[in-house]
Symmetry: none
Subunit: 214 residues, 4 copies
Amino acid sequence: MGAVKGKRMPRAVREQQMMDAAVRVFGQRGYRAASMDEIAELAGVSKPLVYLYLNSKEELFTACIRREAAALVDAVRGGVTPGEPADRQLWAGLRAFFTHTAERPDAWAVLHSQARTHGEPFAAEIAVMREEIVAFVTLLIAEAAREAHDNPLLPEQDVAGLAEALVGAAEALAVWANAASGVTAKEAAATLMNFAWSGLGNLMDGKSWSPPSR
Amino acid sequence: MGAVKGKRMPRAVREQQMMDAAVRVFGQRGYRAASMDEIAELAGVSKPLVYLYLNSKEELFTACIRREAAALVDAVRGGVTPGEPADRQLWAGLRAFFTHTAERPDAWAVLHSQARTHGEPFAAEIAVMREEIVAFVTLLIAEAAREAHDNPLLPEQDVAGLAEALVGAAEALAVWANAASGVTAKEAAATLMNFAWSGLGNLMDGKSWSPPSR
Amino acid sequence: MGAVKGKRMPRAVREQQMMDAAVRVFGQRGYRAASMDEIAELAGVSKPLVYLYLNSKEELFTACIRREAAALVDAVRGGVTPGEPADRQLWAGLRAFFTHTAERPDAWAVLHSQARTHGEPFAAEIAVMREEIVAFVTLLIAEAAREAHDNPLLPEQDVAGLAEALVGAAEALAVWANAASGVTAKEAAATLMNFAWSGLGNLMDGKSWSPPSR
Amino acid sequence: MGAVKGKRMPRAVREQQMMDAAVRVFGQRGYRAASMDEIAELAGVSKPLVYLYLNSKEELFTACIRREAAALVDAVRGGVTPGEPADRQLWAGLRAFFTHTAERPDAWAVLHSQARTHGEPFAAEIAVMREEIVAFVTLLIAEAAREAHDNPLLPEQDVAGLAEALVGAAEALAVWANAASGVTAKEAAATLMNFAWSGLGNLMDGKSWSPPSR
DNA sequence: TATGAATGAGCCTTCATTCAT
DNA sequence: TATGAATGAAGGCTCATTCAT
């Protein structure tokens, strides 16, 4: 997959090849354990060329994060049809999410595992993407509330927590599905929809769970 | 906190000091970026002593993982009163979990972020702990089903997915609460209980969400 | 001797420079006491380059052993004219041997002293070279026996011991000549020829020394 | 063999135990690769005690060399009956030598291999012992010359070389016999006597080998 | 556009050696 | 007599990064 190793290709193409290699190595070895040597070799390029195009390990990693974050967000957005009922939108988004992460496990490892565990420059990139997704989910929850009732019953702070929990659960399921093969993207999405939507439905009807008095 | 840095302490004490330092450095820097020099210095000890007692960076990391995994599991188990209704057990367990992770953020980083992203020797350790917790949650869900009805309605495979999602959501909320200070352990637990329990309740009543036909 | 220290030389050249330095340091300090730092410095190169080309201390040492063993065997073989009478061949071989060891004392130290005292990976290399030489000498002794009589009088096992003793004596004399300067290669060779050849001659005439009955 | 590990033994005994252990470890691992830790453990003693008695690794090694050198010289001297004919003395000395080196391979490795390859402090010790033995052999050769003729025919310098060669051959045979088990001390001694004595006898009769004119 | 040659810096690990009891 | 606790110093090895072509 990808262009042949041959020489003299336009910069844009070479850069993609390098980032493909980098995502693979970063995803499998981790940021620190990945070596520029291995990345260059896997890209079929000499090391100085990697530096010429991507400047440094840090920038290369950042570039990978950005590219894969954008790809993931695009996949999710692309799977959703705006205007549909909120539950169908969520369902479609989750399916797109699980499908994408299953298709690109190294990219998912980079985004979910590596970028978040290696300090500020990278964690911030992920935070941006995650906030985008959380915001999207928050919107859907709010819209669902609007669909069910005239006025949303849920205070904003609660919605934020719920969205966070939903996204977290989705992430965990993506890891789980990737590891324990046997669970398809569709099944994972269904499990989560069942879990979340029914619960949310109850919440929006005002049937919230109350902690014991003591 | 902890004994004075002074010299000549019994081995067992020194080992704990070293592991305290190691958890902090591993948690903040990550496994690869952490240097034995920094750990030794933070422990108030020379590097050779660290090697004398803990043998290698890898073994030191493993020792940290094991100690903190045991501490976390103990905290959760200790917070739960067996025999109580399943929802109260879950509530108590979640509160203990969020309290513990908030009190020891570096330990939580080690367990959740670092150990899982640095290859087999360590990921396996975490898998063991995680399975223990997932099994516990699975039991609670099954018990809840039993409490609500005479026969559990949920097939085993589904329960596994639900437990996985619940644990994943809890982990994500722990990170979220740790980062965005302002959310207490109690609030996080309440959010998750609301989210999960209501949804689960619906499921057990057979009101599951169904994907659109196409 | 050797190319200028200057920078940017082709790999093959640099490798030889490094091995020159390594032979010197290994020969003078011993395998364990030699430091890669010193070798690199003596070679006029940074340490990483040594590792880039020679991989490890062990492989570097092995490479030195192989190069110098080949050089020594070549020198001895090159000094001998096949087809000549056995005694002249032995004489020529010994002269070449003593000349070579005197010219390259560090190489001789590596082969004779260091490689044999530092465990299996290296001792095996030397064993190969030594067997080659012992075999050569064994052939000469057998040929001498054939020249002197129609049938060789010496049983094979004895010849092996004799060759071993002759080679051992030569090795000791090489060390002795290297240390107590004042003995030339020619003198050493003459001493040994006198010592050995006369004895061998007698043996082949059947005049062997017999141990006392008790 | 040797006293039980038990505590509180007189210094002299402990010292011997330590040196026993040291000879074994030095002989098998080499001077540099041997660790004081391993020696102390093998001696059944704590490391500080080794330092209390033997002061340093260097002094410990030197003490081992001296003890084993004395033991070897004593063994050879003890095997020889002064006043007997020179050939019987040499024969007896060689048998004692090969027997001793076969019985104590680690000690022989220390003397022959390790001490001579690790720099001045140690090589000097060996030189002393070796000179003693070479001198003894030199005497025997001279005496043999006296027995055979009224006046020695051999110039001193030649005798020195011959003795050196003889000792060197003996050393090589000792290594050979130790490695290739199957050769007894008696056989090794006989091989060497045959080889050497006949040659020496010829030499003393004036029948020396002459190098070709060119 | 592309690369062979080269290095400063740092890290894991080990070892001989000593202190305090 | 004997040892548990502790360290300064150094060595092997790797890595991100650059120079010169």
